[in-house]
Amino acid sequence: MLETNLKLLTAAYGPSGREERVRTMLTRLAEPLCKELRTDALGNLIAFRPGSSGKKLMLCAHMDQIGLMVTDIDEKGFLRVARVGGVNPVLAIARRVAFANGLLGTVYFDARKKKPGEAQVEDLFIDIGAQGREEAAAQVSIGDVAVFYSPLTLQGSRATGGALDNRVGCAVALSALTLPCPHDLYVVFSAQEEVGTRGAGPAAYGIGPDLAIALDVTPTGDCPKAPRSVIALGKGPALKLLDGSVVVSAPVRRRMEEAAAAAGIPYQREVLTAGGTDTGVISRTGGGIPAGCISIPCRYIHSPVETCDLKDAEGAVKWLGAILEEEL
């Protein structure tokens, strides 16, 4: 289920604020597993499955992905772009990108002035093969967003492709919808995480859960010359303790540790030095919501070759199984 869903989800287009297609795919996959599905005003997709305990548990996986937004079309038909989320311009060079309508383009840069390693987003352009502004404008509008075109490949348990951040979290959340849970279960596929975690807070406000667990990827320190980090692929999902957006509170931390210990699930401990997740905004919603996060280790985040180990994602599902069954 995880692998099949991951293939479908990574193939679905859905940059921040333009999540329609991935939301459609998630709707198709979640519909048989829940009682109600709704989309809120910010575009969060919320799946609901009633329980009997009178308590509410929320899972949250952002469904949006990073991209490049068209800001101008020049007279020769090349597209100029701005970043949607944390695109590294250097890593975007010489990559294929896709628009919502299936149109493909190639990202390149103004090579007269700079070396590839020096390129800024202002130096990038997308070549869609158009001959002139009119021909380009017939296919693309200002404000359209392109995402990395990088279909998922599997080798052993390793998955590589674009948008694993955070379609792997979405796939884990979908699997969680099949797990027994005595509580009202709300699975939020949040919008606009990559542009400042803008979707999850309003979703949490609307739900008012007793506990929220976010699902997202986290960088690793297990490849050559990587920044120092103890996180590695294949050693299990990670318990988030700290990132730029949140310090996970001691009660939530303990709850998650105890659930993992009781179910015998190996996990890693994550102290992330940069970047944030939906966990932070959820925790500060309303009068405060106990919020934690299970992270899936991922190499080369925000590139077209994001790489995860499916065993870690499977571990996350098992861990959620233990958390979902606990009293709140």
Binding site: V247, E270, V271, T273, G288, I289
Partner: protein, 348 residues
């Protein structure tokens, strides 16, 4: 319990941003010791109320402290650090620290390659996080005692009495003013003010402002005063700093001019000399977070000057803490009747 004892206990209680359980328990103990209603909210902030009638006044001082977390434990037993909030790695080498492990607190020292051994590109310079090692004395066995994510605080010392009523220890930001608020509450218990004064020891001021954001949404106070520290410079750093003994009434743009007026009036009535402070939005304090919540809250900010902020040798003045209490007490006693409503109206 006198104020110094309150501050001593508060300063020593562990409560790094986001993980305030230790200091929250201490604040709850002190509030319960006053025999007043005390509670904790979902975000973790601790509250105590004195008075059952009159306007609801939120008095907020944050209880979280700057601190670090273990990022990795090397094979040789040395631990690597990362900031949770507010710590400057340049001042850490040579410090005593405390690791809060699953089995209890573990003393350690922060070390780095000494200048004698630095060569070439390592020529003497300020230490950064990656230069620092946390030494528990243990070798590889440290891996069994210390876990990634364990919180690290500055080592608690009893407050050092400097000359002329000055006091030095860790975490006077913001537990010095918090101790003063608790002292004030004790006095209000004896001699009530015409309002409902709610003390909030808030969480996460040093990182996310979570306490400042969440507490007012639940309480919906009529007026809020945040109490925090500001910078007092060593001699010859006058820009944007204040004398150590003189409290500051902040009139940044996010603060309500009516509240600023009430605080100035209270200071004059109490015979307290003060300085005005200004900035664009008072960001970096709970006041910034409180003001736009729950439809907007009339918010003020009182500041106590402090030297060497975010180090284990913060310095504060007992006279300034006295003055803080006097101004707040005069402010609370001035809220009788309905005139405070008029004072908080915008006068265009």
């Amino acid at each position: 319990m006198d104020r110094l004892e309150r501050i001593r206990r508060l300063s020593a209680a562990p409560g790094v941003t986001g993980l305030e359980e230790g200091v929250a328990a201490e604040v709850l103990r002190q509030l319960q010791g006053l025999g007043i209603r005390a509670w904790q909210d979902k975000a973790g902030s601790v509250f105590g109320q004195v008075g059952e009638e009159g306007p609801l006044v939120l008095l907020m001082a944050h209880m979280d402290e700057i601190g670090m977390a273990i990022q990795a434990v090397e094979e040789n037993g040395m631990a690597r650090l990362w900031k949770v909030a507010g710590v400057d790695p340049r001042v850490l080498a040579g410090s005593r620290l405390l690791i809060h492990t699953k089995d209890g607190p573990l003393p350690a020292v922060a070390g780095a390659l000494p200048p004698h051994l630095q060569r070439g590109e390592e020529a003497p310079r300020a230490y950064a996080w990656e230069d620092l090692l946390l030494d528990t004395g243990l070798g590889p066995a440290a891996k069994e005692r210390v876990q990634v994510g364990d919180v690290v605080t500055l080592y608690p010392h009893a407050p050092l009495a400097l000359l002329d009523g000055r006091l030095s220890c860790k975490t006077l930001d913001d537990r010095g003013p918090l101790g003063a608020l608790l002292d004030l509450l004790a006095r209000l218990c004896q001699n009530p003010a015409p309002c409902r004064a709610v003390l909030c020891a808030s969480v996460q001021e040093e990182k996310t402002g979570a306490g400042g954001l969440t507490a007012p949404r639940q309480l919906r106070p009529d007026v809020a005063i945040a109490v925090d520290v500001c910078h007092s410079g060593p001699p010859e750093t006058e820009f944007r700093t204040h004398p150590l003994d003189t409290i500051v009434i902040n009139r940044s743009l996010c603060l309500h001019p009516g509240v600023v007026n009430l605080l100035e009036t209270a200071a004059k009535k109490a015979g307290v000399e003060y300085e005005l402070g200004a900035g664009m939005t008072a960001s970096g304090t709970d006041a910034f977070h409180i003001a736009p919540q729950a439809g907007g809250i009339a918010t003020g900010l009182l500041e106590v000057p402090l030297r060497y902020m975010h180090t284990s040798a913060e310095v504060i003045s007992a006279r300034a803490l006295d003055d803080l209490e006097k101004v707040l007490e005069a402010f609370l006693r001035g809220l009788a009747g309905e005139s405070w409503k008029e004072a908080l109206c915008w006068k265009d």
